[in-house]
Symmetry: C2
Subunit: 238 residues, 2 copies
DNA sequence: TGACGTTAGGACCGATCGGTCCTAATATTG
DNA sequence: CAATATTAGGACCGATCGGTCCTAACGTCA
């Protein structure tokens, strides 16, 4: 039934997350999802754009079911759920070798300025995500300091997670992703009356956080004094 | 001389930052930079890829001269320089109507997985940026708590700024960008012995930060209890 | 004067793009 | 059985892609 259609959507999602929307051709999708030809594809989608929307819908569906659902778990303390959510995102990213990044972030970077239809849909994604975080923080309000702006904190969490996935993707560095995620928890803990709920029993909200991620022995930075405003001396084939 | 060449590079930078690399054709660049034809373009660049590298080099050059230079200003307190750097980035982004985002982040999202040459170059960009931040934090060490891992803090700042520009671009929301930037300063202030150096005289490192960005009156979140795992009911033309 | 780098403009190439159309075999379900 | 949806496979379309080639008019400086 819709089996074939969702198979196409999944194949397209995989291709788009690595190549981008524009650089993923309909023929790529046909090949990846083992369709017989173009007419086979256009039997399920009337255009590439419709496929793109379907992929975006499906990816948000998965994210809502497997990601945002964690934020709603009724039996776990809200702040613990937030920590679990962050750790789950990180684990997923690491399992992918830090490639792919956030599907929404990747698509947003490519299409936010050029394609209003996609931009608005991704805006909804972030809004739903933000609302879910905000709901959790509202639930955790008794544990939070009084002045905490839950909406703002929610958006900060999203921005940092998106940025973390982006830079970890460029550096292919799982440790960098983990470090940023842990620092993000420290930022959240800053708003909590009892930071140990977020950070674990180890460090009581201190600044160092050496208890979890070992810091390299302090050494002076590698001298970017001259600033070297030039990228290259890369022989054109890095 | 090289006047024409850099004119081409600037035009291409503008197009790429809004349309992406793949969706920016050589003919687009020719039109935008008012060249007479293809041969005119290929007189300056041997391929589109070479143009892409030139654009990336040029953009980093600008970023180093106008952005990273702030981090090196010798007459200003290092932490004040960091605040100034963040504010400058935000102001630039707001001036662009929150479009374009970070050129490096945009290009990274599109090409990090698919084009190793670009990925490595962007990796260098982030490394230089990180090194410059780390150098500043090292200089500010007397004002920092003892356990601060300057390298990790530097990468966190970059990730959050990149993520902030991304989500602000999707939402076209300058206030969201400003709010995240301010929260980022609060995170940095968390590592400083005297937070007022970073946050200004108003709030002494408190959690609320209501002194600068007014929080909306506390209201229960707009009920994402059902989670609605569906994006759509957008009529395909949002 | 001549040489040379730049500007100008167009024809052209093979490849790929998104998309249409057509025929026919194969399942599925009433 | 028949009706219908799915699978299969290919020809084909106009448009655009990155890139090459060619000719000719320029400006500048030796």
């Amino acid at each position: 039934m819709t089996d074939r259609r969702s198979q196409i959507v999944d194949a397209a999602a995989h291709l788009i997350s690595h190549q981008g929307y524009a650089s993923t051709s309909v023929e790529d999708v046909i090949r990846e999802s083992r369709l017989s030809g173009k007419s086979h594809f256009y039997h399920y989608f009337k255009s590439k754009e419709e496929l793109g929307y379907a992929v975006l819908n499906r990816q948000f569906e998965r994210f809502a079911e497997r990601g945002l659902a964690i934020l709603r778990e009724p039996m776990i303390d809200p702040l613990e759920r937030l920590v679990l959510f962050i750790d789950t995102l990180v684990a997923l990213q690491v399992a992918r070798g830090c490639t792919g990044g956030s599907f929404f972030g990747t698509l947003a970077a490519e299409l936010a300025d050029a394609h209003e239809g996609f931009r608005k849909r991704i805006e909804v994604v972030f809004a739903r995500w933000s609302a879910q975080l905000q709901s959790l923080l509202w639930e955790a309000r008794p544990q939070l300091h009084d002045e905490v702006d839950t909406g703002r904190l929610a958006r900060f969490v999203i921005a940092t997670l998106e940025g973390a996935m982006l830079v970890a993707r460029v550096d292919r560095d799982a440790d960098a992703l983990r470090a940023i995620a842990y620092d993000l928890k420290r930022f959240v803990a800053m708003h909590v009356r009892e930071p140990a709920v977020v950070l674990g029993a180890g460090a009581g909200g201190g600044v160092g956080a050496a208890s979890v991620i070992p810091a390299p022995p302090a050494a002076p930075p590698a001298a970017p004094r001259d600033a070297s405003p030039d990228l290259a001396v890369m022989s054109a084939r890095g």
